[in-house]
């Protein structure tokens, strides 16, 4: 631990350190010199294409993909055209830009995913150079064509090619160029030697970096920082200019005394940097040039590749991989020799405490006296995050934990979070996983992306472990991993459908948010229909199952699933599909097995296809419905004969359905229709379509009492109703004599109150009174009241001693009837006494 500052190099008032990340586990004999190399930032994978320009078909170049620790992931001979550039997308896909402008996309495991072209013209003119870049819009590609044109695609997921304007006077290649993302615009910055141009969508502008004297020579190399904010220019005189990439400001100008153009030049900065620098690499030399004009030199033993990171530079060589970065301020504070920062003291205190030395107390007192124990703990926690060595991490965390004991109000969150995150980081940094992420990078890329990347590398168990450990909601964590795992699993050709389905189901189970149909679709894509069907069975969302089942021509199954879902629209969709696909007989049979679908189809037919409806009922021997169908149909007929024939069919069906009532009723209706037609023909009575009652009514009002009576007898109309009808009819026509005669024809089945009321309704009080005496005692009060005979009503009510009747009469009395009111009240009192 004492040596922690051994690899620190001062740079201005800060320090730079170079930490070894891995001893590379790869075995590359020929070195990196003759290869195209692409290493993705954030500890991403490395792709190598050996001898890309060797064109003899007998020995194809080899494309190799390694993890950052050098573990081989895949390797295969390159069979396509000559490759100009390799690069990685944000989702860990390898982009291979070919000479003819075709971009081939492979996944981490070397399986081809898709391809696209950077434009037709490129096929002719060829790609000179290409660069893959990342921006907030995703991964982009820029190419320089043989005709000295730049073409850009800012997002390969949503390909839109943009040809940039011409650069005046540019012949062949520019001496160097970079892609910039500024103000939400992607631009190209290029140098033709003495001159510098900015190319955007519409124009090409010559620019001049402030403070770069013409004597400095022509620009031969340039580099932009990770954030596109800073720019470094290297001239053929060995001068290094650094400044803002918008060319508004200069940071510094340093003479490196190196005449040769560096192989690679990369910015080395970190968030909240104190001393940013540019790292330049030649064959045998690594030069770190600080903006403060300080430099550090490192000799290089073999050919290396620099990978710019958010907070440093990774140096990958044949044998090892190192991280060069500015030492974070908090680490400087703690570990700087003779530092009196609170964190440093706390670390010391804890060290003494472990030795059981009383000095621990002294250090603690000192911190407490300054009242900075909180800061001390915080510093230790923070510094632990930045350390790569696990022992250092532990020492710092223990010190923090020790310090925390003496604090009463200190939120546990930062401590706990850092502990957890360090465990995750240490796990992914393992050589076997090979993701050398720093804490800063991890925070920037987010946990979500980390899990995605683990999944891309098929580290499923680790990914799940991490999700569970960090308690990520299943939906965003475990389920996502499982989904990817399952999609991958179904592609394993050496396993049987049965085994895969079982394995998938066992692992995925009911995990929320895993779409079995998604997995099944994948299986179907790989030509494993049976497996797809098995998997679909586990899908909870029928809406998802059905389309795929239809696509796979499993329509019966689709129907079953649709019905299960309860989504009737889905059922209709399948039914329509089946209808077009099957012959009618099969279609009906299929429906028959699915009552829900059948009733929905019936509904559809009711509105759209009446004829089919009939066939459906016929098939089901549903005589009752068939009869109803005929009844319905009869009303659509314009001619009486057809109507009658429909009714006859209805009768036949009702008979089969053993619905005697309906048979009788329908027969009656036919009889009535015929009768109506006859009378209409004879007398023009306009009866057709009326109800029986309506017909009798019409007949009576036409004075055709005989015919009415015939109907009354023929159709066995109940006496009561007939009496009512006749009563009303006579009263309306004011045939009072007839009415009286009628009342005496036999004992009224409807009583005589009706007579009273009907007369009153037709404003004939005189006639009404004739019937009051015939009314039954129970209704007599009502009858008296109806004719407005209060006295009579009162007498009857008193006689009957009926309280509610008394009340009713009372309620009709006005103030002027006080005599009557008195009598009634007295009677009421009497009756209640009784």
């Amino acid at each position: 631990m004492a040596f922690i500052t051994a690899n620190w190099n001062p740079m201005g008032d800060a320090f730079y350190r170079k930490t070894e990340l891995y001893q590379m586990s790869w075995n590359i004999r020929d070195g990196l010199g003759d290869s195209l190399v692409a290493a993705a930032p954030y500890g991403g994978p490395v792709a190598l294409l050996r001898e890309p320009h060797r064109r003899s078909p007998s020995s194809r170049p080899q494309l190799e993909i390694y993890s950052a620790s050098g573990a081989s992931i895949t390797s295969f001979p390159w069979k396509s055209g000559p490759v100009v550039h390799l690069g990685w997308s944000v989702s860990d896909e390898l982009l291979c830009v070919q000479e003819d402008g075709t971009v081939l996309i492979y996944d981490l495991f070397g399986s081809f995913k898709r391809h696209f072209s950077m434009g037709q013209e490129v096929v002719q003119s060829q790609v000179f150079e290409a660069k893959v870049f990342h921006s907030p819009y995703g991964t982009g590609i820029a190419i320089l064509t043989g005709s000295s044109h730049f073409t850009l695609a800012t997002n390969i997921e949503d390909l839109k090619l943009r040809r940039l304007p011409e650069v005046p006077g540019l012949q062949g290649k520019p001496s160097c160029w970079v892609v910039l993302t500024q103000d939400r615009q992607t631009k190209v910055l290029l140098s033709t030697g003495p001159e510098l141009f900015v190319l955007d969508n519409t124009s090409c502008t010559a620019v001049c970096p402030p403070g770069l004297s013409p004597q400095a020579g022509s620009i031969v190399h340039m580099s932009v920082s990770f954030s596109y904010k800073y720019l470094a220019l290297f001239t053929d005189t060995g001068h290094l200019w650094t400044g803002l990439s918008n060319l508004q400001d200069k940071l510094s100008g340093v003479d490196t005394n190196q005449k040769e153009t560096p192989k690679q030049m990369v910015w080395c900065r970190r968030p909240k940097t104190q001393q940013p620098s540019v790292v330049l690499m030649w064959d045998r030399l690594l030069l770190v040039v600080g903006v403060c004009n300080d430099t550090i030199q490192f000799p290089l033993e073999d050919q290396s590749v620099l990978v710019g990171e958010l907070d440093g530079v990774r140096i990958i060589s044949l044998t090892s991989q190192e991280l060069l970065q500015e030492v974070p301020l908090v680490c400087q504070d703690i570990f700087k020799i003779a530092s009196m920062a609170p964190g440093a003291l706390l670390l010391e205190a804890h060290r003494e405490y472990e030795k059981c030395s009383q000095k621990a107390d002294e250090y603690l007192r000192e911190i407490k006296e300054q009242n900075v124990l909180g800061d001390a703990v915080q510093q230790c926690v923070e510094a632990a995050g930045h350390e790569y060595d696990t022992d250092t991490q532990k020492a710092l965390m223990r010190a923090a934990s020790f310090g925390k004991c003496f604090l009463t109000e200190f939120g546990p969150d930062p401590f706990v979070t850092t502990c957890r995150e360090l465990r995750v980081l240490n796990a992914v940094r393992e050589t076997s996983v090979g993701m050398p992420l720093t804490h800063t990078q991890f925070k920037q890329m987010t946990l979500q992306v980390l899990i995605d990347r683990l999944v891309y590398r098929q580290f499923y168990p680790l990914a799940i472990e991490i999700c569970r450990y960090l308690k990520i909601p299943d939906y965003q964590g475990v389920s996502r991993v499982l989904k990817h795992w399952a999609s991958c699993k179904v592609q394993q050709k050496d396993l049987s459908d049965e085994a895969i389905a079982r394995a998938v189901c066992l692992k995925v189970g009911d995990s929320p948010g895993v779409s079995y149909s998604h997995i099944a679709a994948k299986a179907y894509e790989c030509g494993r229909t049976e497996l797809a069907i098995k998997l679909l069975d586990f899908e909870a969302r029928s809406g998802e199952q059905v389309p795929l089942l239809l696509k796979m021509k499993r329509s019966q199954l689709a129907l079953g699933k649709a019905v299960e879902s309860g989504d009737t629209d889905l059922v209709y969709t399948v039914v329509t599909y089946l209808k077009n696909e099957m012959n009618r007989g099969d279609f009906f049979m299929t429906l028959r097995n699915q009552p829900v679908a059948l009733s929905l189809y019936r509904q559809f037919c009711k509105l759209q296809e009446q004829e089919t409806l009939k066939d459906l009922y016929n098939q089901d021997d549903d005589h009752q419905e068939l009869a109803n169908y005929y009844i319905m149909a009869s009303y659509r007929e314009k001619r009486l004969e057809s109507r009658l024939s429909h009714l006859q069919s209805a009768i036949d069906e009702y008979n089969k359905a053993k619905n005697d009532f309906a048979v009788k009723a329908t027969e009656d209706e036919m009889r009535l229709l015929r009768f109506q037609r006859k009378l209409d023909d004879e007398k023009g009575a306009g009866l057709l379509g009326l109800s029986l009652q309506g017909t009798m009514e019409a007949l009576m009002s036409l004075g055709l009492h005989k015919q009415a009576e015939q109907l009354y007898r023929d159709f066995k109309v109940p006496d009561k109703r007939y009496w009512w009808l006749k009563l009303k009819s006579l009263a309306e026509k004011e045939e009072w004599e007839e009415l009286e005669k009628f009342s005496k024809s036999k004992k009224s089945p409807i009583g005589y109150l009706a007579f009273v009321e009907i007369c009153m309704k037709n404003n004939n009080r005189y006639e009404a009174k004739k019937y009051v005496c015939k009314v039954t005692p129970e209704q007599k009060v009502k009858a008296h009241l109806a004719v407005g005979d209060l006295e009579g009503a009162a007498d009857t009510a008193i006689e009957r001693r009926n309280e509610s009747e008394l009340g009713a009469v009372l309620s009709r009395c006005s103030a002027s009837d006080h005599l009557l009111v008195d009598r009634l009240n007295r009677a009421r009192v009497n009756s209640s006494k009784k």
């Binding site: 299943d474 009752q624 309906a662 009340g807 309620s811």
Partner: protein
């Protein structure tokens, strides 16, 4: 504007706001001026979500009703069809677009399906060759519409018919979806109870959908403790009975649609001196009825017999308030009085309106009022009510109550026969006959056939289809050999209360002046002492009864305050009446119930609209 939605135990305005937001988002998707072509059925329900002003803010300049032929001319960029997913409507839309032709090729067409888009309809549009003409095809998920502070309705008129006659369970799918939306906004409902086949089906779909959405676990503290799903067909009796609450009677007599009622204008005429009866308004008076109106909220659920007293008490309070002005001496007091004026004036006009409505209703029901007033030995005001109307109402009620108490339910009823002979409205007859059948657990063959024959002979043979429907729905049936269990149900559940107190009710039976709606009684028993106590009766009612629990994520378990009420959402599948709602509100207000109810339904119904939805009327084509 919709503040009354947020007064209740559950703030239903959240739901309304969510619906409005979605509407705005859709409208903004169609940039530029717009005309909306409405499926007429939707205008009512939409009125509960958004007024014209909202549409106007989003550049809706014209509105038309969907019909065949050319669209009326309108100088707008976008034509938006707001339609239900029905094939016949698709044909009309296709027709519209064809007639539009190439005249306005610059126009954009859009379709908004309510409540859900349908592949079937899109297929139809495709067949018609117009699918490609649409820029946007979207759905507007409007399942449960907030109707009042404690009331949600899907306004799905044909739900009962589709479920019980046609075996088309689409409405239940929408119900389940609607409940999922509700849970997304108000938290997972931990307990689900239900009774009936449809209830079971909805619960199954909900659980299934929950599985589908698994993982997007909802982190909202549950607002509802319990969901109770009730099939309408376990209680066919209640909607058949005449509702006797104020709101129920308004609905029975005038019909409330989407919260509005249209009333005969005579009683609302502005009485100005001198020109008393000159120009009576002829347009019906349209009033909105909801709890935003303080007075209405107070009296809507009262038995109509208690409304008069409440109104006169209110009148006294209001006039007393107006009298206050004489006491206002200082400037401050006057200022305070003036500031209250708008409120008081609103109260006064509200009082005037309801007094008029009460009078209108009284004209029809007064015999009923009179009867009850006689019993309580009150002195009556004399008035000249038309005897026949009120008498008919009273007689009808008497018969209903006889049926409900089980008097002579197995014989043909004279009143029904007489009513048929008088050719009273068919629906009234059907209501009574069905009621008798339900109360008697079916009718004897002889009686049933007699009624059916009477109806066919009097109202026409075509009604054989309607009768068939009623039989299918179980409203009319033949008495099977098993004994009539209705009396057992009635006794166990205390469906008939002899001493219903209408003025100061102590039991839900006040809403039908004696009859306690079965559906609400089941709800009440569920809360206390629980359904286990009535297992026997539950078995007599159709369909299964069940209980399901939905797991809550830990941390969302409610810590109940001492004395805090629980909240139950009661969902009536197939419709609910205002009287049932009143009864549930009464239970919510009972001090010791410990339970508050929010009511949801497929449609607000009464016996008339309900029976109407079950009727089939073929129209004769014969000249």
């Amino acid at each position: 504007m919709a503040a009354h939605l947020s007064y209740g135990r559950v703030n239903l305005n959240i739901l309304r706001e969510a619906a409005r937001k979605e509407l705005r988002e859709f409208l903004d998707k169609c940039a530029g001026s717009k005309a909306i072509v409405w499926d007429e059925y939707l205008t009512g329900p939409f009125g509960l979500i958004a007024q014209y002003s909202l549409l106007k803010e989003h550049e809706v300049e014209k509105m038309f009703t969907l019909k065949s032929g050319r669209l009326p001319s309108a100088d707008v960029k976008n034509i938006i069809f707001f339609v239900r997913p029905r094939l016949e409507l698709m044909d009309i839309i296709a027709d519209n677009i064809f007639s539009e032709g190439k005249l306005h090729s610059s126009r954009d067409f859009h379709i908004l399906f309510v409540p859900r888009r349908s592949m079937l309809c899109e297929q139809r549009l495709k067949e018609q060759g117009v699918l490609a003409s649409f820029t946007n095809i979207d759905e507007y998920i409007l399942d449960l519409i907030p109707y009042d502070g404690d009331l949600l309705s899907m306004e799905y008129e044909s739900a009962f018919r589709e479920c019980y006659l046609e075996n088309d369970l689409t409405s239940l799918y929408h119900t389940a979806k609607g409940l999922m939306t509700l849970q997304a906004l108000y938290g997972t409902i931990p307990q689900i109870f239900g009774k009936g086949d449809c209830a079971r089906h909805v619960a199954n779909m909900m659980l299934r959908m929950k599985r589908e959405f698994a993982g997007t676990q909802n982190q909202i503290l549950p607002v509802f403790d319990t969901l109770l799903l009730l099939d309408r067909n376990i209680d066919l009796l209640t909607p058949l009975a005449t509702q006797l609450t104020y709101e129920g009677l308004i609905d029975e007599i005038y019909g409330i649609t989407n919260g509005y009622v249209k009333l005969p204008p005579e009683k609302f005429a502005q009485k100005k001196q001198g020109e008393a009866s000159k120009d009576l308004p002829t347009e019906p008076k349209k009033l909105q009825l909801n709890s935003a109106e303080e007075l209405y909220a107070e009296i809507r659920d009262k038995n109509f017999n208690a409304v008069g007293a409440a109104l006169s008490k209110k009148a006294k309070i209001i006039s007393a308030a107006f009298e206050e002005r004489h006491n206002a001496k200082t400037v401050g007091e006057i200022k305070q009085f003036v500031s209250q004026l708008p409120h008081m004036q609103a109260a006064r006009s509200s009082l005037a309106n309801h007094t008029s409505i009460a009078e209108l209703i009284k004209d029809i029901t007064s015999k009923f009022v009179l009867q009850l007033l006689c019993l309580s030995a009150l002195v009556l005001p004399t008035s000249n009510f038309p005897v026949s109307a009120s008498e008919a109402f009273f007689d009808n009620l008497t018969v209903e109550q006889e049926f409900m108490t089980g008097v002579d339910t197995d014989k043909a009823n004279t009143y029904i026969e007489d009513s048929i002979a008088q050719k009273d409205p068919l629906i009234k007859i059907l209501r009574l006959v069905c009621m008798q059948s339900v109360c008697n657990n079916g009718l004897k063959q002889k009686v049933l056939d007699h009624y059916k024959r009477e109806i066919l002979q009097t109202y026409g043979f075509e009604h054989i289809l309607t009768l068939n429907n009623l039989e299918k729905a179980g409203l009319l049936k033949l008495q099977s050999s098993s004994r009539n269990n209705h009396p057992t149900i009635r006794k166990t559940l205390k469906l008939w209360m002899e001493d219903a107190n209408e003025q100061n009710p102590n039991d839900i039976s006040y809403v039908y002046s004696g009859y306690a709606p079965l559906s609400v009684r089941l709800t009440q028993v569920l809360a206390r002492p629980g359904w286990r106590s009535i297992e026997e009766v539950l078995k007599m009612l159709p369909g299964p009864h069940f209980e399901e629990r939905q797991q809550l994520p830990s941390g969302l378990h409610k810590k109940r305050q001492q004395g805090e009420n629980r909240t139950t959402l009661v969902f009536f599948l197939g419709g609910v009446t205002y009287a049932e709602i009143a009864a549930l509100r009464f239970l919510s207000q009972m001090e010791d119930s410990g339970m508050e109810y929010v009511i949801a339904t497929t449609k607000l119904i009464n016996g008339t609209t309900w029976i109407k939805s079950l009727m089939d009327r073929p129209e004769a084509q014969m000249p």
